[in-house]
Subunit: 435 residues, 2 copies
Amino acid sequence: MPENKAKKLSTDSYKGVRDFFPEDMAIQNAIFDIWRVTARKFGYEQYDASVLEPADLYKAKTGEEIVNEQTYTFIDRGDRQVTLRPEMTPTVARMIAARKRELIYPVRWFSMPNLFRYEQPQRGRVREHWQLNVDIFGVESINAEVEILNIAYDITRAYGLKDTDFEIRINNRKIVNYILHEVFPLSDEAAHKLGKLIDKKNKMKAEAFDITVREIFQDSKASIPDPDVTADKFLTLLNSKNFEEFTSHLPQTKEEHEGLKEVRAVLAALEKLGITNARFDQTLMRGFDYYTGTIFEVYDLNAANNRSVFGGGRYDDLLAIFGNEKVPAVGFGAGDVVARDLMETYGNLPKQTGPADIALLIVGEENAPFAFEKAQELREKGLRISVDFSLKKTGDKVSNASKRGIPKIIVIGDDEVKTGTLKVKNLSTGEESML
Amino acid sequence: MPENKAKKLSTDSYKGVRDFFPEDMAIQNAIFDIWRVTARKFGYEQYDASVLEPADLYKAKTGEEIVNEQTYTFIDRGDRQVTLRPEMTPTVARMIAARKRELIYPVRWFSMPNLFRYEQPQRGRVREHWQLNVDIFGVESINAEVEILNIAYDITRAYGLKDTDFEIRINNRKIVNYILHEVFPLSDEAAHKLGKLIDKKNKMKAEAFDITVREIFQDSKASIPDPDVTADKFLTLLNSKNFEEFTSHLPQTKEEHEGLKEVRAVLAALEKLGITNARFDQTLMRGFDYYTGTIFEVYDLNAANNRSVFGGGRYDDLLAIFGNEKVPAVGFGAGDVVARDLMETYGNLPKQTGPADIALLIVGEENAPFAFEKAQELREKGLRISVDFSLKKTGDKVSNASKRGIPKIIVIGDDEVKTGTLKVKNLSTGEESML
């Protein structure tokens, strides 16, 4: 017999993950509904996979170190290294690659997986979270970007934000590469360093940022002849106030650079759609290595909580790790934790509704069978019926129904069984009506 | 830079788990809908928790061995032993125990978790599956059983089975204990052995079963004076054709045994509800140690596939492992794999519907912005709109819409942009109408 551990076992969940009691689940379901309804409006189909994935799936792109340190990875008894998925993009790439020839393009898919990251739990950074993933595959033109940004915009609006509450910031990896490798011919190492630095710009003091930029240029004397002057030029470019100013600091070529053309076209298309809170942001980098073109982030402009809330971009190369030819892809991931925060901040959390439309209160145990029958008849009409067959006093039953948020009650006692007529009472108005 | 693993990485999922491509996800969602809608009709509220649970949660009831051999259990870097939940009951018990004092009873909760078991994958036995869990807490009377059985019946009917396609078999742990310990005063060890044997009865030849029963009685000579005669009596009892015959073989006492009374009352209440395919089954055991009263299983009577499809019962002691006083509980778990099998067998799989209500086919790239605008207007009316902005010929676009199962199309070319009038074409009837 197993050891008796009575009075020992904790009721806490595992560290860094959440229990969803019904009132939390109702909010979670409201978020899932926003995600599902919005994605479906754009013709996206839902897919899913297991949280367990072969660890190799992540090593291919992110390297051994990240897999071991930031993910839940363990060896199973078949000696397979298995990872609890930390993101969905490698999984969807795997699934697309598996059916590459059978699919009709463009493929529009969405998913709402739970993801795991092995990190110290803190506000907004739990070890398990849910994330909407929306991706379109097989489109090379910026129509894909426009559609994905349209969905991202609709999702943010559905959270309860007005146009003035947020901003969609857009950049393009092609521009980033053009700046760091061509306009400023930095070494790969220096370009990489500078890229990482820009990614952290918003979290740094301006002075510290400028000093570090100058250091990187100083260290790049080999390819940059006049590092101080060049660093100034770079900082001027980086501090441009808008897209037009930014392009004015770039070499004027006959044909505009592809990345610049894409940004221009995306912003114009969004404006035509009435999405006027999108803007170019040359400092937007996004960490993931797999982006190849447009990148974007939705920013909450709330003074108290200015931050990136979710983002995505174009990643045309990801399927290459499966030995396939390229499949163009654009997509984003939006998490549940920030969704809940936003809905709370902007007063858009769903009202908690009761678990039933009517509570049937049984008075006298012998009347239970009749009540069960009536309950079933009402359920067949589509109503949610909760039967109270407790031995509590009728008054307590009424007050429990009210506490639970059930709006109406039907009392079933001897009279009701005899006559067969039932009265529905509305608990907030006191009104009674025959069923 | 990470090593390039091109042309190496497999597109297979991890062993024993499933990918849900959209056509599979549609079926999965149909199952989830049946579960959710049915549970809610009875006033049940949804909850959830993480798949990660402290391993101690399972050790408390099932013992060290089962936790290590049949579950995914690993040590995290904080030296915590963590398990991927193999069942939901310990989790819901943990959550109820955590809020025991604040909850209003009866508590009616349901969940649709994914569960993990570390076993060799085979038909119907995957390593990850989803399971509806429905539980009612705080009710000592058999009203709880009647409601839970009513839900189990409704779920099975919603899968597409008629009353004649299945049977609800009912037993009671109190009767089992009464038979094995009092009517036949076996030692604890012999009673345990015999219980396990009865659990396997349906999978054994009758002769082999009888022989093993006789052996157990022979080994129990210490407490059973005339083992051969007693084994005969036991087998006669066990082979009873129905509840009345079964009780007739039992000692006739002034007051009927509590377990028998409960079975009688449950069957009568179900009959009153019009559920006439429930019957007593004295050989029903159900493996889980935690059941304390009524146990039940839904059986598919399909000749080709006669089997238990899901079940549950009363488990009044489970919260004790948290050091709490007892909370009466009745519930069941129903899996997705068998649900899908049943829906397939009984011709009730959902029709695959297209990902959109209308496909907007763009003719001429320059008309994309207009199409995007129109698409968005239609979405605001609640329609699911898929925009085809590929560079394919219009005929190919029409045929793709049809292949995808999208029932209607709108072509957007120069004319439509000029006049602003759009024609909707129904692909199956060929009918056209103005928007």
